[in-house]
C-alpha cells in the first residue's frame, strides 16, 4: 500500500559513516531484498527505514510522506527481528495483541486480527502458550504474526531465517513467499546475507557494499548482467571465475587475451578505449564447456573434482599463477583428478570488466 523512497540517506556514528548516501525507489507492493556481506550497512538501512536509527542525512519517504521525524509506530511499518524479539513473559496471543493494545484498538478488532493472523500462520493451537514453550520455527511464525496484526503498509524483515536450521529455513522461506503473494499490496523489505533467499524471494535485489548501493535489479538482471566485479562474484554459487586479460584495440575491433592464451575479438558501443589495457574476464562455472584443444581459451589440469551426481565441479589449474578455474559440468562426464582439459566459455556468457571493475557492455565477435 505504500512506496518507500530513499534520497541520499546517510548514517554516521561519530566519525564513522556507515551509509554513504543511499538512493532507492521501492514501489508499492514490491518485495525488495537488501543483500551484502557483513558490515555493508544493510541492517542499518532497514533500521533507518523502521525509525529505530536516526539518519544523519537525506530523507526517507514512506507513502509519499517524509518520515525522518515520525516515530516508528506511526510509520505504518512492522518488523520481524532476527532474534524474533518476542516478549518472553507474554503468551502468543498477548505478543500479537500488544501493539494493538498500545494503540487502544477495540477488543473485537484485536480478537479478529489475531484470529486471522493465527489462521494464516497455523498458530491457533498455540495462542495461550509462552514463547519458551515453542520451537524455533513456531517462534518465528509468532514474530511474523505479530507483524501481520499491525496490518502494516511496509513489512520489514531483518535476517528472519538466520536462527533456523537448514530444513526449517527452506520451509519458512516458502511460507514468507506465500505470505507475500497473499498480501499483494504490502511492500516488503527483507535483509539477508544469503543469496539464495535473495534470489528466490525478491522482485528486486539491492546489493550493498561498504555503505553504497552496488546494483539494483531483478534477480535475473543481477545474474546475467552484473554491473561490476563485486556483484558478479557475490551472486551465484560457485562464484564467477575472474581471469585477468589484456585488451588492445586495432581497426575498431578489440582483441582480448589471457596471458599466453588465444585472443577473443570483441566490440563495444560504449567507447572502444574501454577495452584497451588490463581487463577482467568473467565467466560463470556453468557457462564453460569442455572443448577440443583447437577451440580452447584455457587449458589445464584438474586439481580437484567434486562429483555431486547430477553435476560435477572441476577445479582446473591453468598455470600462470592464476586462481584455478571452476567448471560446473553435467555429472556424466565423470572426469577425474589429474586429467588435462580444454575449456571454452560460452560466447554469450562472457563478462568483461574494465580496470575499475565496472562491467563493459560488449559483443564477442
Amino acid at each position: 500500500m505504500a512506496s518507500v523512497k530513499l534520497s541520499g540517506v546517510r548514517k554516521a556514528y561519530g566519525e564513522m559513516e556507515i551509509l554513504h548516501g543511499i538512493d532507492l525507489d521501492i514501489k508499492k507492493g514490491e518485495f525488495v531484498v537488501f543483500v551484502g556481506p557483513s558490515g555493508c550497512g544493510k541492517s542499518t538501512l532497514l533500521r533507518a527505514i523502521a525509525g529505530l536509527e536516526q539518519v544523519t542525512g537525506g530523507t526517507i519517504e514512506i507513502d509519499g510522506i517524509v518520515s525522518n521525524d515520525i516515530p516508528p509506530s506511526k510509520r505504518g511499518i512492522a518488523m520481524v527481528f532476527q532474534s524474533y524479539a518476542l516478549y518472553p513473559h507474554m503468551t502468543v496471543r498477548d505478543n500479537m495483541a500488544f501493539g494493538l493494545r498500545m494503540s487502544r484498538s477495540p477488543k473485537e478488532e484485536i480478537d479478529r486480527r489475531i484470529a486471522k493472523a493465527a489462521d494464516i500462520l497455523q498458530l491457533t493451537p498455540y495462542l495461550h502458550r509462552l514463547p519458551k514453550a515453542l520451537s524455533g520455527g513456531q517462534r518465528q511464525r509468532v514474530a511474523i504474526g505479530r507483524a501481520i496484526c499491525r496490518d502494516p503498509k511496509v513489512f520489514l524483515f531483518d535476517e528472519p531465517l538466520s536462527n533456523l536450521d537448514a530444513a526449517l529455513r527452506v520451509a519458512t522461506r516458502i511460507e514468507i513467499a506465500k505470505l507475500n503473494e497473499s498480501m499483494p499490496d504490502t511492500t516488503m523489505i527483507y535483509v539477508t546475507h544469503d543469496q539464495v533467499e535473495a534470489m528466490t524471494l525478491a522482485d528486486r535485489i539491492v546489493v550493498l557494499r561498504g555503505g553504497n548501493v552496488e546494483q539494483v535489479g531483478t534477480p535475473m538482471e543481477l545474474y546475467h548482467k552484473p554491473a561490476n566485479l563485486f556483484v558478479a562474484q557475490f551472486i551465484g554459487s560457485p562464484a564467477m571465475n575472474i581471469v585477468p586479460v589484456e585488451g588492445s584495440v586495432a581497426n575498431g575491433v578489440a582483441s582480448v587475451a589471457p596471458k599466453g592464451g588465444r585472443a577473443l575479438s570483441a566490440k563495444t558501443e560504449s567507447g572502444m578505449e574501454r577495452l584497451a589495457g588490463p581487463l577482467s574476464l568473467g565467466v560463470r562455472p556453468e557457462n564453460i564447456d569442455l572443448v577440443d584443444e583447437a577451440k580452447a581459451l584455457f587449458s589445464g589440469t584438474v586439481t580437484y573434482a567434486e562429483q555431486l551426481g547430477e553435476v560435477e565441479i572441476l577445479y582446473v589449474d591453468i598455470g600462470a599463477g592464476e586462481q584455478p578455474i571452476v567448471v560446473k559440468i553435467p555429472g556424466y562426464h565423470a572426469i577425474e583428478r589429474g586429467r588435462g582439459v580444454h575449456l571454452a566459455p560460452q560466447k554469450g556468457a562472457i563478462h568483461l570488466f574494465d580496470a575499475k571493475g565496472n562491467a563493459v557492455e560488449h559483443q564477442i565477435l
Partner: protein, 336 residues
C-alpha cells in the same frame, strides 16, 4: 603491634599450610588404601568407584564440620536455652515465649520490625531500580553508579555515625551542625531532635538502611536490565509503546524474578537489623527492634532464656523468606 602482626601472619601461614596438608594428605591416604592407578591391583575398578564416592566427603568434611559447629549446633543450643530460665539452671518450658507475648518492649519491636519490613525493602528496591534505569541513560552514569553503590562499602555502624551527624540536634538559637536541622532552620522552622521523635524516628533510621541497600539493589538490577534483549524493546517501540509502557510492560516483567530476589534479600537484612538501631538510639524513644531487644536481654540483662527466645522468633521469621529466595534463585538458574 609488631607482635600482633607476627602472630597474625603465623596464624595465616599455619591455617593455609594446614588446609593444603589436609587435602593433599587425605587424598594421598585414600589412594594408598584403595589403589587403582597402577592397574595391577585386582580390585582396581571397585577401588576407583569407592575413591570417587569418598573423595567429595573428605574434601567437604572440614567445611561441613565448621558449618555444623558454628551454625547447626548453635540453632539447637539456642532452642534449648530458650526453654530454660535466665541462667540455664531450671527448665521452664514455654514460659519465656509466654512472657514475650505479654511484654510491651517485644510488641513494640515486632511493630517496628514490621514497619521496617514494609518500608525498607520496597524503598531500596524501588530506588535501586530507578538508579539502574536512569544511570544507563546519562553519560556520567558510571560515576553516579559508583556514588550510589559506595554506601555498601560502609559498615552499618559507620553509616550510623555519618547519619548521626546528619540528624544532629543543637538547641534552638545555637549553630546547627546537623545538615537536616541546618536546612530546617534555614527554612525558618524550629530545629528538632529527629531521632528522639517517637514513630517518626523509626523512619529516620530506615533511611540509613535504604541509603545502604539501594546500591546493592541497583547493581543487581542493573545487571538484570542489561540482560533484557535489546530487540524486545525495539519491537515494543515499533508496537507504539512509550518509555513508561516499555518500562512497565516489557522491562519490569522480564526482570521480575530478579526484583523478587533483591526484595527478599533486603527483607532478610531488615529482619536482622541491629547495628543501626544500636548505634543511633539503642531502642529508646519507641525505636526498638528485635535484634536490639535480643542483645539487650542477652548481654545487658544476662537473661539467656529470654534472649534466646527472641533469637528463635527472628529465625522463624527469616526462614520462610530464605526458603522462597533459594527456591526462586534455583528456578532462575534452571530456566536458562
Amino acid at each position: 603491634m609488631t607482635q600482633q602482626v607476627i602472630t597474625a601472619t603465623i596464624t595465616i601461614l599455619i591455617g593455609v599450610a594446614g588446609s593444603i596438608l589436609y587435602f593433599v594428605g587425605t587424598n594421598w591416604l585414600l589412594d594408598r588404601i584403595f589403589p587403582f592407578r597402577d592397574g595391577a591391583s585386582p580390585n582396581a575398578a571397585r577401588n576407583h568407584r569407592i575413591t570417587t564416592a569418598v573423595r567429595p566427603w573428605l574434601f567437604l568434611g572440614p567445611a561441613l564440620l565448621a558449618l555444623g559447629v558454628y551454625l547447626i549446633y548453635p540453632v539447637f543450643e539456642t532452642l534449648r536455652l530458650s526453654l530454660y530460665n535466665r541462667d540455664t539452671t531450671a527448665f521452664v518450658g514455654f514460659d519465656n515465649y509466654a512472657w514475650l507475648v505479654g511484654d510491651a518492649g517485644f510488641r513494640e519491636s515486632i511493630l517496628n520490625n514490621f514497619m521496617w519490613l514494609l518500608v525498607v525493602p520496597t524503598a531500596a528496591t524501588f530506588f535501586g531500580l530507578m538508579a539502574a534505569v536512569l544511570t544507563d541513560r546519562i553519560w556520567w552514569g558510571n560515576i553516579a553508579k559508583s556514588l550510589v553503590f559506595m554506601p555498601m562499602a560502609i559498615s552499618f555502624v559507620g553509616a550510623s555515625v555519618i547519619w548521626k551527624f546528619v540528624y544532629d540536634y543543637r538547641a534552638a538559637g545555637s549553630e546547627q551542625i546537623g545538615i537536616l536541622n541546618a536546612f530546617v532552620v534555614w527554612l525558618g522552622f524550629e530545629p528538632q531532635a529527629w531521632i528522639a521523635v517517637p514513630v517518626w524516628n523509626n523512619f529516620f533510621l530506615m533511611v540509613i538502611l535504604i541509603w545502604i541497600q539501594t546500591g546493592f539493589a541497583m547493581v543487581i538490577l542493573s545487571a538484570a536490565l542489561r540482560g533484557i534483549p535489546e530487540e524486545t524493546m525495539e519491537a515494543a517501540v515499533i508496537d507504539g509503546a512509550n518509555d513508561f509502557q516499555i518500562f512497565f510492560h516489557i522491562m519490569v516483567p522480564q526482570i521480575w524474578g530478579t526484583i523478587a530476589v533483591v526484595w527478599t534479600t533486603i527483607t532478610i537484612v531488615v529482619l536482622k537489623v541491629f547495628d543501626i538501631v544500636f548505634a543511633m538510639t539503642n531502642g529508646q524513644w519507641n525505636s526498638q527492634v528485635l535484634g536490639n531487644l535480643m542483645y539487650d536481654w542477652m548481654f545487658r540483662g544476662f537473661d539467656f532464656g529470654r534472649g534466646a527466645a527472641i533469637a528463635i522468633v527472628i529465625m522463624v521469621l527469616v526462614t520462610p523468606i530464605m526458603i522462597s529466595n533459594i527456591r526462586r534463585a534455583k528456578a532462575e538458574t534452571k530456566g536458562h
